[in-house]
């Protein structure tokens, strides 16, 4: 850590807020609704092969319409994050 930041402690409100929340529920399950059709049309038009997918209200995998993309789904190694991880 930079020595300039020594003694710069987290504000009380931050401490309380964080202690009342959990990583799995509040970070990984945090999601946004996206219009997959809009994004995939633009990806196609730009010449990219990759397509965006998401989850419906039941948590099922969907590839069109409006869907939720959770923060956990961005992470490598999860179902929706199709990445080229085979080259390691």
């Amino acid at each position: 850590m930079s020595h300039f930041d020594e003694g710069f402690a987290p504000p009380t409100a931050c401490v309380q807020w964080c202690q009342l929340r959990s990583y799995d529920l509040n970070v990984l399950d945090d999601g946004v609704v996206v219009d997959l059709d809009w994004w995939n049309k633009h990806l196609e038009r730009a010449g990219h092969d990759i397509r965006l997918s998401g989850r419906n209200l039941d948590g099922k995998f969907v590839t069109d319409g409006f869907a939720t993309v959770q923060r956990n789904d961005l992470r490598i190694g999860t179902d929706l994050a199709g990445g080229d991880t085979t080259r390691t």
């Binding site: 850590m1 930079s2 300039f4 930041d5 710069f8 402690a9 987290p10 504000p11 409100a13 931050c14 401490v15 309380q16 807020w17 964080c18 202690q19 929340r21 990583y23 509040n26 970070v27 945090d30 961005l74 992470r75 490598i76 994050a81 990445g83 080229d84 991880t85 080259r87 390691t88």
Partner: protein, 140 residues
């Protein structure tokens, strides 16, 4: 274009592939003043998000998202740094990550939650300033 056959994304993809493989930024000899690898089209926030997604780390600790609202809160709370996230050098991002990591350790939580608080705190302050007593009491 000097190399018309090369995909315009080639440079960027090389950097991102390297991040996936090594879970850290490539050590390419970079001419950039900022310290970030040369990945055209990828700004500070997107690179940070990508690094988080591939479980990457920087010198300061595990990579964390970075948003202008969050940095604005940090500065409002007394952090002495340049405010604009778009101009963050890699060194300054390292300092940011190190601070979040230490705060999380002090609190006994994860840096991701600290980052989330920073962003939401700014939004809550803006709401309160705009709507005053009509806003839901969100200023925590």
């Amino acid at each position: 274009m000097t190399r018309p056959n090369e995909s315009p994304l080639a440079k960027t993809l090389t950097v991102l592939d390297s991040c996936v493989r090594d879970r850290r930024l490539p050590d390419l000899p970079t001419e950039s003043w900022s310290g970030w690898p040369d990945a055209p089209g990828v700004g500070v926030s997107l690179m940070a998000t990508f690094l988080w997604a591939v479980k990457g780390s920087v010198a300061g600790g595990p990579a964390q998202l970075i948003d202008q609202f969050g940095v604005s809160t940090l500065i409002h709370e007394g952090w002495l740094e340049d405010p604009a996230v778009t101009g963050f050098t890699l060194r300054r991002y390292d300092r940011y990550v190190a601070l979040l990591t230490r705060w999380a350790t002090d609190i006994g939580t994860r840096p991701e939650l600290v980052e989330m608080w920073l962003v939401q705190r700014w939004s809550a302050r803006v709401r309160e300033a705009r709507f005053g007593s009509h806003a839901a009491p969100t200023l925590f």
